[in-house]
Symmetry: none
Subunit: 256 residues, 2 copies
Amino acid sequence: MNARSPSTPVASQLQYVLVAQRLMQDITSGRYPVGSLLPTEFNLCTQFGVSRHTVREAIRRLQERGLVTRRRGIGTSVKANRVDTRYVQTSMAISDLPRYVEETRLVIAQTEDVIADAPLAELLQCPPGQRWIRVTGLRYAGREKLPMALSHIYINAAYGGIRKRIGTIKVPVYTLIERQYGITIVAVEQEIRAGIIGAADARRLSVKPGSAGLVVSRRYCGDSDSTIEVAVNLHPADRFSYSMSMRLQAATGSDA
Amino acid sequence: MNARSPSTPVASQLQYVLVAQRLMQDITSGRYPVGSLLPTEFNLCTQFGVSRHTVREAIRRLQERGLVTRRRGIGTSVKANRVDTRYVQTSMAISDLPRYVEETRLVIAQTEDVIADAPLAELLQCPPGQRWIRVTGLRYAGREKLPMALSHIYINAAYGGIRKRIGTIKVPVYTLIERQYGITIVAVEQEIRAGIIGAADARRLSVKPGSAGLVVSRRYCGDSDSTIEVAVNLHPADRFSYSMSMRLQAATGSDA
DNA sequence: CGCTATTTGTGCGTATGTATC
DNA sequence: GGATACATACGCACAAATAGC
């Protein structure tokens, strides 16, 4: 179709893209060194023969990539001469830690004391023989009839005081612990894997035995990596998916 | 939890910030639920008594925060109703994705042109009928004999120039595109779900048909949410789990 | 100190292009 | 083809921050 050389980028007919590309070239080539000022917007307008709106849209792209900063009354200064993916911080919004709990309700089926045997100690990352409380229940989303998950929540026996409050209010268990014992969850480790739902769990979840499920295990850590709570949720495959998005964080122009 | 209380004084007199705040409130409050469409730009103009330019600037802020996506001819749809949580992912950011690829090798089985039908267009978030390139292959970790994933990579036909280079070097496909076409991946959306591995896929992965698998779909977005690449990986449940850790971060809260 | 010129930031109006239904 | 809705692009005016006189 078009005999363009393989290394040539597709030509965009968009004015502001063209201007942005030209400026990026001029920055990477060293025509506008790091620390120097770009020509003024008005200057670029006449230079490229486009409106100020277009120039600003082009510079906005440079700014989003962390190449320049703009300061009112000063101008647009070059901050970097290449898009550096190493230090570009990716902030991500996890869709559901608090929201997940707020919009679902946990119906508790069972609460029992357990002593951590070897495999459980592995999961909880605690020495074997420790006492824990295991809460088992079904989690429902909104007014859905079918449960979205079968939950097993393990609580360190040291925080057993919250036992009676679980399920009574729409607050995550770890928040209950944080409030009552004045501690803070410092980190969360999460593992997601797939699994087959066995006969017993399938009956509780109202799915066919042998169907696929998503197992989400979360470990809530306090100071010095101590395990405060571990939640294991088994989701039927067709009732839950885990999604998240990561965005490039635009460098804030403030050179604080 | 930095929800703005109604009594909080509004520090900014900027029109587009005010409009953006109002819209964010209406999204988080559920007036505009996730999946619904925002009023049209023209509609918002009359509603807030501002110009379209201002409305667009406000919506741009929502877009930068990952709250909405805009599609020409359709409208502005709500993607999420919460800007941020207390937790920020530390272990697996965009910067770590390249490493994942470097430590694995992709053996390509097939490369073909496809036209996006309705379901594929949904996955790729593109209009139906568009041309894409689909690369199918098996991904191996280290020197393992058994593949860790069956990969389907969809590449926008506009970036077909990288076709021959895939698999030849240990670099992610999206990096190839970024380099050759001078564009930047601005966001990544990821979805994880469970599924049953069918007969054909099971044979390629050397697993028993009907066993469980983890499906990880990643969508790499360029500017204005355009889809540049989509990668769908099907992992046998016993060969892969997705883990990450989040550490508490001081609430950003900075709306500035 | 105030004043002015410069430069980016905000905001308005309008027109046209393009994708979707 | 027409209606709708976002995308691009032009123009203009004024505000706010800065630097220099």
